[in-house]
């Protein structure tokens, strides 16, 4: 114990007084972020549950509705997000080894890729708006009213069930996009303090925990992409 008191006297300026040392502070921060992510998993879990339930009830309508999503843009966005996860991991790595220039470049790339994802998502949303696929009357003057021929609705398929797919689609991708927007905000905060030189191999917990959050958002999309975009392709989607 005597040794750790000596450590305190020359402690790092970022060390909070209620922690024994930076190691303990870092592990406590990481643990806290993981507990938050568990609540996030349960939050998205509820929506995945609703998706599973309604898909099992209305499989034909869900396949038809899903086939109307833009698979190319969805796949490109998946690649963009995985690449941004990689650059985020590199931002953590470069901070750990003290390469400040590479750390800043990695963060800038992650922000650019995150914004790119949101831009592509906005293009997709606009296409859905033009095709009158925004569910209910969320957009005044443009209620849910797709062309039945364009949807290739088979006899017995219900447009109400197609609309149910789009409620779930917009709820899940919308919440995911909101998490992306918050993530880009957090990354901008990291970038600002990185440029100021706050993070070092000794102290970089904010980079680490925001990285965990960013990877979590990536994982949500890894499940959303096949569930929303690919579920009916084998039935002759295009």
């Amino acid at each position: 114990m005597a040794e750790s008191y000596v450590e305190h006297e020359v402690s790092h300026p970022a060390l909070q007084h209620h922690f024994e040392n930076l190691e303990q502070q870092r592990e406590a921060g990481t643990l806290g972020m993981w507990v938050f992510l568990v609540t996030e998993i349960m939050f998205f879990g509820g929506m995945f549950l609703a998706y599973t339930l309604y898909r099992s009830k209305f499989p034909a309508a869900f396949a038809i509705a899903s086939n109307h999503l833009d698979i190319k843009l969805g796949a490109i966005n998946t690649a963009v997000l995985i690449f941004s996860s990689f650059t985020m991991a590199m931002a953590v790595y470069n901070t750990q080894v003290g390469k400040r220039r590479a750390q800043i470049i990695s963060l800038v790339l992650t922000i650019v890729l995150g914004l790119g994802f949101l831009g592509i998502k906005a293009v997709e949303y606009y296409q859905k708006y033009e095709d009158h696929l925004i569910p209910g009357s969320l957009i005044p003057g443009n209620p849910f009213n797709p062309d039945p021929h364009e949807m290739h609705l088979t006899p017995g398929g219900s447009m109400q069930h197609v609309q149910m797919f789009y409620w779930i689609y917009f709820a899940m991708t919308g919440m995911h996009a909101l998490h992306m927007i918050i993530g880009v905000g957090l990354l901008s905060f990291l970038l600002y303090f990185s440029v100021k030189g706050r993070y070092s191999p000794e102290y970089h917990n904010p980079v680490e925990v925001i990285g965990l959050y960013w990877h979590f958002v990536d994982i949500v999309w890894i499940f959303l992409f096949p569930l929303l975009y690919l579920l009916g392709r084998h039935t002759g989607g295009h």
Binding site: T30, T52, Y93, I222
Partner: protein
């Protein structure tokens, strides 16, 4: 326990594996597999990709046991959420539906 620094080579390998997984899941979606095999293939690939992200990008493989317990608890409660809900929906007609 000191911090483990994951080598760049590992990050690049995981990144490439995730990209290949994305390509495979798109290709597999266009094949007409029998029964429920399409969704099983898609979900297996997604679970493998998510596991790679959790273990390597999120460093869980090199993390303390306590982190493993936290991650496992999330999966456990997700299991309860799905199991209890579907035990209701799947058995609703066992006593006859009107």
């Amino acid at each position: 326990m000191s911090e483990h620094i994951v080598p760049v080579k590992v990050y690049i390998s995981i990144f490439l594996a995730l990209m290949v997984g994305t390509a495979v899941t798109v290709l597999a979606a266009f094949q007409n597999f029998p029964g429920a095999l399409n969704v099983i293939v898609a979900m297996t690939i997604a679970v493998v990709k998510a596991t790679l992200v959790v273990l390597y990008f999120m460093h869980v493989r090199y993390s303390a046991r306590l982190i493993w317990v936290i991650v496992a608890s999330a999966l456990f409660w997700m299991g309860i959420l799905f199991a209890l809900t579907f035990s209701d929906y799947w058995t609703r007609c066992w006593l006859g539906c009107t």
